[in-house]
Amino acid sequence: MSDLLFAFTEWLRNTPLVELSLWISNTWLCMVIVTNFWAIPAIQTVHILSIAALFGSAVMLNLRVLGLLWGHLAIGQVAQRFVPWMRWAIVMLVVSGMLLIVGEPVRELINPIFWIKMLLVALAIVLSVFFNRRVSVIPAGGAASLQMRLGAVLLIILWCAVMAGGRWIAYAPV
């Protein structure tokens, strides 16, 4: 596994991502971030709080789909309550995530775990949009199909994998 990641890193080192990283390193914004000790922890805090909003909302909606929480509300009502929070959380995550990339471009862009995480993020967003749309139109009083229940479990696991990826960026074999 770690050999494979090493090979991935080696490959990344031969892409234009290296030049891009070096270019980002010389931008004004990168300078501001690297010269302020508290910039990265502060941006990471915003990033984590946004994950809490996204993941918390996903867990609430998906547990309703599974019939475990919010039984007094229709699935559509629970979706109405939490899906807008997921959207705004994604916006905050993209903004704070991009600032983290600008602050430490080499650590992120020349990192195999970062790209695996990005792939998982893309997959989780596409599936969530599809899933949220499908469950939003379940008529009041109706239950979710087996497929939707499986989707609910899968999405929670997928978001956990995204978080694991985010944490392991710091431990990539580079």
Binding site: I48, M60, L69, H72, L73, R167
Partner: protein, 169 residues
């Protein structure tokens, strides 16, 4: 800090558990990962309750209903976060105990706990008077607001520990 208390933290650090966490290649990142997943679940579920106490979201559900659908999840996630947190602490107990951000974080956790205890033991007694609707007494809103504030600060100070652990001697 006296020599006697130092020994306690060092004893933890040099215990089999502490030694394992500190020397294993995968233990610490794995604990961190579970800690993050647990703490965002604590934050996310507690925020649903706090925003309802502030009258800002979930207003179509009674406060008791929102509590019924969040508190258990919050507690389960908190237990997981505390357990993984204790294990990470064991790996470098002495360093954590001289880190001001860690100590402030523990203080904030205590404040969050006191705020919650006061709310559930005292304020909650009159819940029938403000359970439904959006006319919420200031004391209830204060509890919700303080809870959000304490938990946001807990996240910041928690993150700060990771950047400062080796800086204090």
């Amino acid at each position: 800090m006296t020599a006697a208390t130092e020994t306690i933290w060092q004893k933890i650090e040099y215990s089999p558990v502490g030694d394992f966490v500190a020397s294993s290649e995968w233990a610490f990142p794995t604990l961190e990962t579970i800690h993050v997943i647990a703490l965002v679940t604590v934050l996310g579920s507690i925020a649903v309750m706090d925003l309802r106490l502030l009258g800002l979201a979930s207003n179509s559900s009674a406060i008791t209903q929102v509590a019924r659908n969040t508190v258990r999840l919050t507690w389960m996630a908190f237990v997981l976060a505390a357990a993984t947190g204790l294990l990470m602490f064991a790996g470098k107990a002495a360093s954590y105990m001289i880190n001001p951000y860690f100590l402030i974080k523990m203080g904030l956790l205590a404040l969050a706990g006191l705020n919650m205890a006061y709310f559930h033991l005292v304020t909650w007694k009159a819940v029938n008077n403000w359970d439904k609707g959006v006319v919420i007494p200031p004391m209830v809103k204060l509890s919700g607001g303080l809870s959000l504030l304490f938990w946001v600060l807990v996240v910041f100070f928690g993150r700060a520990i990771g950047f400062t652990l080796g800086m204090f001697y």
